[in-house]
Symmetry: C2
Subunit: 360 residues, 2 copies
C-alpha cells in the first residue's frame, strides 16, 4: 500500500518488454516518472524508450535484486510473469500492483472463473479437466460442442480447441498437449465487448466506455469504441468490473472481456490483469489513456477522466500489415502507433491505427 | 534532402537534451523511431526517454563522429547549437533539418530581421549596433525608447534592455555586456500571437491555429489557443509564416512570434527554428502535436493534420510551481506535463499544464 503518490523522478519497475510496456513507459514519461524494464529479450521494444532496462529471466534472483533496488513500485505488462516473482518483490519491500493474488487468479482459468462466479461476475458454466474422463463427464453437464482450454498460459486463441462430442474427447485433450485444462460451455453470444477498468490504492475506481471487439483467427482485429450499447448494458458491465476489482483488492488497469447474449445479459469471458489491446483506442479517444491510467493507479496518483472525446476504430497491424505505415501515416484522421519491433513475423502485433470520427 | 521517409527503426539524432528534446523523443517513439540525444548535460531530462544518448560538448569532434554514425537524420531542440556543427554533420553525409542557414539566420538578430524583411515578413524598424554611437544614431531614426538586444544568444528576456534616450545609450550598452547588438523600435502592439508552422522536405507546409501569448518578466506564462482572431489576421499570420519557411527552404517545425498592432496588422517579433513553448497546447489540443509534426517533417513523413480538437489554455510551471503536481494531476480537464528535471531552480521550466475546454 502506497501511503502517498510517488513523486516525479521516482521509478516504475515494469516486468515485460513488449508494446504494452513501451506505451506504459511513454505514459510515465509525460508525468515525469522514470521507468525500469525487466525482460529476457535483449531487443525488447519497451527498453528503447524506458529510462533503464535489465535483460534477464523473470526469476533471475540477481536481476530481481537489482530491479528492486531501483524500482519504487513494480508492475507488469505480461501476465505470465510467475506470481512468485511478485511475492518475492513484496518480500524485499517493493510495492507491487496489481498484487500477486490478481496475477495468480488470472493465470489459471479454473481459479479465475471460480473467483468470478464467487464475486458475482457471471461466466459460462465450466468444469476442471485433468484427464479425458473429465471431458466426457463435462460434455454431459455442459452440452456439446464445448471449448477446451489449458488452465495456464495460452493467449490469442493458442492452447484451446473445440470438443465436438465424447468421441472427440481423447483427441481434443491431445490437441492441447494433455495439460490440466478447463472445459467451457459454448456461449451463445451475439458480440464481444470489453471494459477497461482501473482502481487505485485508495479503492477509487474508474471505467472507460465499452469497446466492441472483433476477432480473426482468435486474435483481436479491431475495437469500436465507445460501443453502441444500452444504458443497462453499460451499467451492467461497469458493475461487473467493479465487483472484480474490489474482489481482488486490485490496483491498476484491468481488461474485462465480456460476451453479450441475445437477451442483453453479459458473461465475463476472461480478465487480463494489465492494460489491454482492446483499450488502445483510449490513446487517441480520451484525455487520459489506459496506459497513463495504469501508471496513475500504480503510482498512487488520482485516476484520470475516462469519457470519450471521439469515436475510435482501433485496428491491429499484424505481421507484414505494418508495411503499410507510409500510407497510414498520411491517412486523414488516422493515428498510427508503431511499436518499433524489429522483425514482422506473421501474426505478430507490430502496431495499431486509431481512426477517429466525431462522437454522435 | 531525404529521398524517401525514414522507416521505423531509424534514428533521429537530436542536439540538445531539454524538455523539447524529451517531448520530441516521446513523439518519435509512437512512430516507431529511435532517438539519440547529444547533450553536454549528464542528467538531461531528454536522455531519460531517448533510446540512446551521448554526453559531450556540441563541438566535440569525437562525439559528433559517434553521433553521425548512429543518426539517420539530425535536428536540434536548442537553437544555440553552433551552426558550424550542423554543417559538419552535413559534410559527413548526415541530413540536417532545419538546415544550417535557418539556424544561423535565427541565431543573429540582425541577420534574422534583415532576412525577414527581404522575404516580405514585416518587423519593427531596427539598426545594427557595434558601439554607443550606433545606439545614439539609431534612436534618432527609431525614436525613444527603443529596445537594445545582443545580436546573439539571450532568450526569455535575457540580454536585452530598454534605452530611454541618448543619455542612456552608454549605460544601456554596458547593461547588455557591450556586445554586438540590435536596436529595435518600440512596437505599439496590442497583443502577442504566435503561429507554429511546419514544412517538409517536399515543400509541403502546415500551420497550427494561432496562439495568444502572455508573458511575465520576459518569460512565457500562458498561451491561449486557438486564439480569437479575425479571418484576415489568421490568413496574414499563415502567409507570413509561409514566406519565412519558403525563404529558408526550411524543414521542420518553426515558432513564429508575432505582434498584433492596433490596426490588426502583424509584425514578426522573432522566429525560433524549432518546436516552441507556445506550441505546447497542441499536445492535448490536436491530433498530431508540434513534436510529432517536427519528427514527421524531419523524417520525411507526411505532415499531420493541424486543426484544433479543443480549446486549450497552456500554463508554464516555473521553478517551485511544479510542486503543485499532485493537485494538477487531480484537476478535471487539466493535462499535466512534467519534464522530469531534477532541480526546480527559480524560473526554470519544469513542466506545463494544458487546461481543455470545448471549442466554441
Amino acid at each position: 500500500m502506497l501511503s502517498s503518490p510517488l513523486a516525479p523522478g521516482s521509478t516504475i519497475g515494469i516486468l515485460g518488454g513488449g508494446q504494452l510496456g513501451r506505451m506504459l513507459a511513454l505514459a510515465a514519461a509525460r508525468l515525469g516518472l522514470d521507468t525500469l524494464i525487466l525482460t529476457p529479450e535483449p531487443e525488447a521494444c519497451a527498453s528503447r524508450v524506458a529510462t533503464r532496462s535489465i535483460v534477464a529471466a523473470y526469476d533471475d534472483m540477481e536481476a530481481l535484486k537489482a530491479f528492486s533496488e531501483i524500482a519504487d513500485v513494480a508492475t507488469f505488462e505480461f501476465e505470465n510473469v510467475p506470481a512468485r516473482v511478485m511475492e518475492l518483490l513484496q518480500m524485499v519491500a517493493v510495492e507491487v500492483a496489481p498484487g500477486p493474488l490478481a496475477l495468480a487468479t488470472a493465470q489459471d482459468r479454473v481459479d479465475e472463473k471460480t473467483f468470478l462466479n464467487r464475486c458475482g461476475a457471471p461466466t459460462v458454466k465450466f468444469v476442471a479437466v485433468d484427464g479425458v474422463q473429465d471431458i466426457v463427464a463435462g460434455l454431459e453437464r455442459l452440452g456439446a460442442p464445448a471449448l477446451l482450454k489449458t488452465r495456464r498460459e495460452g493467449y490469442d486463441g493458442k492452447g484451446q480447441t473445440w470438443v465436438a462430442g465424447p468421441a472427440d474427447a481423447a483427441a481434443a485433450f491431445e490437441r492441447i498437449g494433455g495439460k490440466p485444462a478447463i472445459l467451457e460451455a459454448r456461449a451463445a453470444f451475439v458480440r464481444e465487448l470489453s471494459v477497461i477498468a482501473a482502481r487505485g490504492w485508495d479503492g477509487d475506481s474508474a471505467f472507460f466506455p465499452l469497446g466492441e471487439n472483433h476477432h480473426e483467427n482468435g486474435v483481436l482485429r479491431r475495437t469500436l469504441a465507445p460501443a453502441e450499447a444500452s444504458d443497462r448494458t453499460i451499467a451492467d458491465a461497469k458493475a461487473i468490473a467493479a465487483r472484480i476489482l474490489d474482489g481482488l483488492d486490485y490496483v491498476g488497469v484491468m481488461g474485462v472481456e465480456l460476451f453479450e447474449l441475445e437477451d442483453g445479459s453479459l458473461l465475463v469471458n476472461e480478465i487480463a490483469p494489465r492494460v489491454h489491446n482492446s483499450g488502445h483506442w483510449t490513446l487517441d479517444g480520451c484525455e487520459v489513456d489506459q496506459f497513463e491510467q495504469h501508471i496513475r493507479a500504480v503510482a498512487g496518483w488520482p485516476l484520470g477522466p475516462t469519457h470519450a472525446l471521439a469515436r475510435v476504430e482501433m485496428e491491429n497491424l499484424l505481421g507484414a500489415e505494418i508495411d503499410a505505415w507510409p500510407a497510414l501515416a498520411g491517412e486523414a484522421n488516422a493515428r498510427l502507433w508503431h511499436y518499433g519491433k524489429g522483425e514482422a513475423r506473421p501474426g505478430r502485433k507490430m502496431g495499431h491505427v486509431n481512426r477517429l470520427s466525431p462522437l454522435t
